[in-house]
Structure formats: structure tokens, C-alpha cells
């Protein structure tokens, strides 16, 4: 069995990078056609259906690559773990997509904090949102840089690791640092050139490549006897207790319950509301061209998800039979790619394509976060509080500088890389969901919602999630283990067997309602602007009247 990606992987990586830089320069041309801020941070509100569908909800590279290893380790129950994705497309764009897109136009909002500030007439609420976003996004982005550097490292000749495995020791420090440098230069470079659109287009590009890779792998990986035969054999191979591979709560060597029913329930919240509350996703909905793009996105993404997640389950069930004892389950997809293409004409390149998919995913994710963080710093902090009358030229330079500074900080933080990459990604995603979903509902549908209520909802949501995580770490540190969920030391406390996202959302909802009832309503003129039909004379260019 081949042990490293070889020339095919390197070629595929170079193609990914070249394509991304090229897309960055294309994006720059579009940015030049409108005002800088709206073009650079929002793509001039021109996203079509494909771009919205495939980039507004797809989870980060880290999360995406974790899923196959779970199927390999725990079996069929992971299909239930991921089942919430059946309603992700329709919830992502059908709940408040249209309203967000409309409100952001009516207020001229470029970022999520902009929108909250204008909708509730409160700079304090806007600032609270920006600080929370900066906090989550920075944590996620730093973690992603490590993933990027590791993928670069594995395509290095002679290394024997193949995936985003989380070894505490990174074997080859020099290759890691070179990987980190090249990765940073490329991603910060193309994002800086093309801004939001560069991030969206590279994301779209990698999503399509990922789909092609998964479909090819599905065809190659299907065992002769079909997946029924594969399941039977996998259960046989596992010996006593192997039955669990075909049922809930899933197989584990040590009897750990991977997915008790409380967690299965929770993941329907996690995928739907975690995605809905992601600031990066919300911005992409705000940037959609029109309602037709939103509508089409629903079925494009439905088809995409069905062709990604179900085949990945089948591939990894087959993998359990083809490669029964992988030391690092994280490597299941790359190893399957190498194994199934070994005898194929052009197999090395096909394998390379599949191996580089996580790299593309990580690049796209980092690029997305860079834009959100830079827009937060420039728009929500610099323009609001430091220099509200800055010229376009000045804002442009400040934006570029911010991206470079954020990139340098991420590199600095990764010279000694963080552990628990995957856990940080899940944690930040949960926090974002619990923080922003209820406020978005309030902004879109509730006249009586107030600035005080929306702040209470944000802070209560994030506090609940943080509290459960801190409780979990403390327990783990003292040696307790609830024995459910993914194994690892960075796990939350599952109160009543439910994931923190459920509690975060519930607490956020209560706080939002109570907070709004007990605080002063938003003035009626402002509410009317967002909730009532506008008189004909406003129809062409409705604008917010401030006081």
C-alpha cells in the first residue's frame, strides 16, 4: 500500500493554490466596480444561487474531515448524527434568509453587527455583537491555520502521515513551518487582493472539487457484495460487541456511548442552528443577489448535501472492511483514495484531488474568517469609533493592513500550534449558534424586540455554552467522564444528556423575550421602517431616518 501522496498530491495542491490566486484577481476586478467597502466586504450584493448554496452553510474544513473518521470508528449510527443535514438547506435560506437580505439592504448593513445596530438603533448592541464575533472567529481561524500547515506538511515527500490527525507532536518541525509560511502567504495574499468575493469563489471551487472527489471515491469504494455485505463483514471482524457497529448508540472499543438519543436529538439543533447562527453564513445571505438566488440555493444545497453525506457514510463503512485496523481513523479518506486508485490510470492525480480537498476546505475557511474579522475591525470598530469620516482610500489601506496583521497573529499563534483543533472548531460554532440565532429571529420577526433584549439573548446564549464547557473541562480534569459523545479531553458537560447548543438556544430565547419585555421599546418610526410597507416615494431608495 502506498504510504504518501506523491506527485499527484503535490500537483493537485499547486492547482488548488493557483486557482485560488486566479479567483482572487478576478474578484478584485469586481470589487473595483463599486464602493470599496460594499464591494470588498460584501461582493456588491451580487451572489448567485450556486455561490450562496455551496458557501453559506458548508462547515469548516476541520469539521468536514472529522465526519468520515467518526463513521469509520462508530458505524451506522453516524448517519443519524449527520441526519439533521436533511433540513439544513431549507432552514438555512427559508427561515430568515429573505428578511436578513431585505433588512441589510434597508439599513445599508455590511456586517452582522451593522445590522443589529441599525435595526435596534443601538451602538452598544452592535459593539457587543462585534466583540463576540471577533472572539469566536479568531479562535476558529487560528485553529484552521494549523490544519492548513499540516496538510501542506503531509504532501511533503517522505512524511508518512496523511490527514489532519492531531498528534501532540508534529513530526517534522521544519516542514511544518515551511508549510505554515506558504499556506499563510497564499491565503492572506488572495484574500487581501479579492476580499469577500475571493473567499466565496474559492469556497465554491473547493466545494465542487470535494463533491467530484466524493462521487469518484464512492464509485471506486463500493465493495463487490454491496454495503450489506460490507456491514456484515465489519460486524464479524469486530468480534464480540461488534453488533453495535450496525446500531445506535454506536460501536466503541471501551463501551463509550457515542450517540445516545439525547445527543441524536441535539445534533438536529447543532447542524441547523449552528449553521444558521454563523456570522460568515449570515453575511453571505445578506450578499445574495435576489430572492431567486435564495430559492434556488435551497434545492442546489439539498442535492449537494445528499451527494456528499450519504456517500461518505457508505465509503467509510466499506473502508472498515477494506482496511479493518487503521491506527489513525482521521486518515480514512486519504487512505481510501490512495488504495482505490492505486491500479487506476491517472490514479495518482485522482488520489491527489481527493487528498487536497481538505486543503482547499481549510484555505476557503481561513479566507472566509479573514474577511469577517477584517470587516469587523474596519467596519465595526475603526469606522464606528475611531474615524467615522475616513476616506475610501484610507479604509482600503486599513483593510489591507488588518488582513496582514491578522495573518501574522495567526502565524505567531501557530508556531507552537494549538491542540484540539477539531474541538475548538465545534466549540466556536456552538457559541456562534447560541449567540446569534435568537437575535436574528428577533430582528427579523418581532416588532417588540429591543436592544436590551437582543443583548440579553446574545450574552445569555454564549454564557450558557461557555458555562457548560467550563463545567465539562473541570470534570474531565478531575477525572470524571460521562461516557457519551466523542472521546477527548476538550468536551462539554452534557446536562441531561443534551449538547450545550440546546441549552444555549433555550437560555438565549428566554433572555431575549424577558429582556425585551422589561426594556424600553425601539421607537415606533424605526420599527415601522422595518416592519411596514414603505410608501411609494420611499420604494426606490428607502433609507433609515436616524432619530
Amino acid at each position: 500500500m502506498p504510504e504518501s501522496g506523491g506527485a499527484g498530491t503535490l500537483v493537485a495542491l499547486i492547482i488548488f493554490m493557483a486557482a485560488s490566486v486566479w479567483l482572487g484577481t478576478l474578484a478584485q476586478r469586481v470589487v473595483e466596480r463599486s464602493s470599496f467597502v460594499k464591494g470588498y466586504f460584501l461582493g456588491n450584493r451580487g451572489l448567485g444561487a450556486w455561490a450562496v448554496a455551496l458557501t453559506a452553510t458548508v462547515q469548516s474544513g476541520g469539521t468536514f474531515m472529522g465526519f468520515p473518521s467518526l463513521v469509520y470508528s462508530h458505524g451506522w449510527v453516524v448517519a443519524l448524527w449527520i441526519a439533521g443535514y436533511m433540513v439544513v438547506p431549507i432552514t438555512a435560506f427559508g427561515i430568515f434568509g429573505k428578511r436578513l437580505a431585505q433588512l441589510s439592504r434597508r439599513t445599508g448593513a455590511i456586517t452582522v453587527p451593522d445590522l443589529i445596530r441599525e435595526r435596534f438603533g443601538s451602538p452598544t448592541a452592535g459593539l457587543t455583537a462585534s466583540l463576540l464575533i471577533l472572539f469566536f472567529m479568531s479562535a476558529m481561524m487560528v485553529a484552521q491555520f494549523k490544519a492548513g500547515a499540516i496538510v501542506m506538511q503531509i504532501s511533503w515527500p517522505g512524511t508518512e502521515s496523511l490527514a489532519l490527525s492531531e498528534d501532540p507532536q508534529i513530526a517534522n518541525q521544519r516542514a511544518y513551518l515551511i508549510g505554515l509560511t506558504i499556506f499563510t502567504l497564499i491565503v492572506v495574499g488572495y484574500t487581501l487582493i479579492g476580499g469577500f468575493l475571493a473567499a466565496v469563489w474559492t469556497d465554491l471551487f473547493q466545494s465542487v472539487m470535494m463533491l467530484i472527489g466524493v462521487v469518484i471515491l464512492l464509485v471506486l469504494a463500493l465493495p463487490p457484495g454491496g454495503i450489506e455485505q460490507a456491514t456484515r463483514q465489519a460486524v464479524d471482524n469486530l468480534g464480540p460487541g461488534g453488533d453495535a457497529f450496525a446500531f445506535g448508540p454506536g460501536y466503541s472499543k471501551d463501551g463509550r456511548q457515542f450517540l445516545p438519543v439525547g445527543l441524536a436529538f441535539s445534533f438536529f439543533f447543532m447542524w441547523v442552528f449552528g449553521g444558521l447562527g454563523s456570522p460568515a453564513g449570515m453575511v453571505r445571505v445578506m450578499a445574495c443577489k435576489n430572492t431567486e438566488s435564495l430559492r434556488k440555493s435551497i434545492y442546489l444545497l439539498s442535492i449537494y448535501n445528499a451527494f456528499i453525506y450519504i456517500p461518505l457514510v457508505i465509503i467509510c463503512i466499506s473502508a472498515r472492511v477494506m482496511m479493518p485496523a487503521l491506527a489513525k481513523p482521521d486518515e480514512v479518506i486519504p487512505r481510501m483514495a490512495l488504495r482505490t486508485t492505486a491500479d487506476l490510470w491517472g490514479g495518482s492525480f485522482v488520489a491527489g484531488l481527493i487528498l487536497s480537498a481538505p486543503f482547499g476546505a481549510v484555505m476557503a475557511t481561513v479566507s472566509t474568517y479573514l474577511v469577517v474579522i477584517a470587516s469587523g475591525l474596519v467596519r465595526d470598530i475603526y469606522q464606528r469609533f475611531i474615524n467615522p469620516t475616513a476616506s475610501e482610500r484610507r479604509i482600503r489601506w486599513i483593510s489591507y493592513s488588518m488582513m496582514v496583521v491578522v495573518g501574522l497573529i495567526a502565524v505567531g499563534a501557530n508556531i507552537k500550534p494549538v491542540d484540539y483543533l477539531q474541538a475548538i472548531v465545534v466549540f466556536s460554532g456552538t457559541c456562534a449558534g447560541a449567540t446569534f440565532v435568537v437575535p436574528a429571529f428577533m430582528a427579523a420577526f418581532w416588532r417588540r424586540a429591543t436592544a436590551g433584549g437582543v443583548m440579553a439573548a446574545m450574552l445569555a446564549g454564549v454564557t450558557a455554552v461557555l458555562g457548560l464547557y467550563v463545567a465539562g473541562w473541570t470534570w474531565t480534569w478531575r477525572g470524571y467522564d460521562q461516557g457519551i459523545g466523542v472521546a477527548g479531553t476538550f468536551r462539554p458537560y452534557f446536562l441531561l444528556g443534551l449538547d450545550p447548543i440546546v441549552w444555549g438556544l433555550a437560555v438565549s430565547l428566554i433572555a431575549g423575550i424577558v429582556g425585551s419585555i422589561f426594556t424600553k421599546p425601539v421607537d415606533s418610526e424605526r420599527v415601522s421602517l422595518f416592519f411596514d410597507a414603505q410608501p411609494a416615494e420611499y420604494a426606490q431608495s428607502s433609507s433609515v431616518s436616524a432619530s
Binding site: 429573505k98 441599525e118 438603533g121 431608495s541
Partner: protein, 104 residues
């Protein structure tokens, strides 16, 4: 001041949001209940396969997933309304919005 009629985008969005939330709730209730009843704590001997999938995966996940796929298509094509989303207030400003909002 007489109250103006409700914004049409708000009206259609609310209707659509309710339908979508019901669909999410339906998918959640059906899938989790079905899989819990038929996919947990069983013996391997009792397992049947439908198109290669374990029976509970097929009826509890693949079947509702297919239904959601069809419903999502119908929703997006026939139920969700196209609307005018409006324009940004002033094209040339980089500040956006009004820039004059203060806390009440």
C-alpha cells in the same frame, strides 16, 4: 398616525418561516423517534437490509431525507415567493446606514 400595512416581505417570510420550522420539527421528531425505536439495542440477527442499508437507517434516515429533498424542491419552486429586496440607502457612502445612531 394610522398604522401602515405590513411589509409584504415580512408577511411572506413569516409564513415561509413557520412552514420551514414545522418541517424541521417533523424531520427531527420522526427521524429521532424512528431510529431510537428501531435502531438502538437490537440484535444483529434481527436486522434486515433495504437496498444495502440497515432497515432502520433506510426507513429512519434515507427515506425522510428523500422526502425532505422533494419537499425542499417544492417549497423553493412553488411556495416561497420572489420579492423585491430593495436597495441600499446611498451608493457612495462607505459608512452605510446613517452613521448617527445613538443609544436611547
Amino acid at each position: 398616525m394610522t398604522r401602515r400595512p405590513e411589509d409584504p416581505v415580512l408577511r411572506s417570510s413569516r409564513r415561509e418561516a413557520i412552514v420551514v420550522l414545522l418541517m424541521w420539527l417533523g424531520a427531527l421528531a420522526y427521524t429521532v423517534t424512528y431510529c431510537y425505536l428501531f435502531g438502538y439495542n437490537r440484535s444483529f440477527e434481527s436486522l434486515k437490509f433495504v437496498w444495502g442499508f440497515p432497515d432502520w437507517v433506510f426507513w429512519g434516515i434515507i427515506a425522510p431525507w428523500s422526502v425532505c429533498l422533494v419537499l425542499s424542491y417544492l417549497f423553493a419552486t412553488f411556495f416561497m415567493r420572489d420579492e423585491d429586496l430593495g436597495e441600499d440607502p446611498e451608493e457612495e457612502t462607505n459608512a452605510g446606514g446613517t452613521g448617527e445612531v445613538t443609544d436611547a
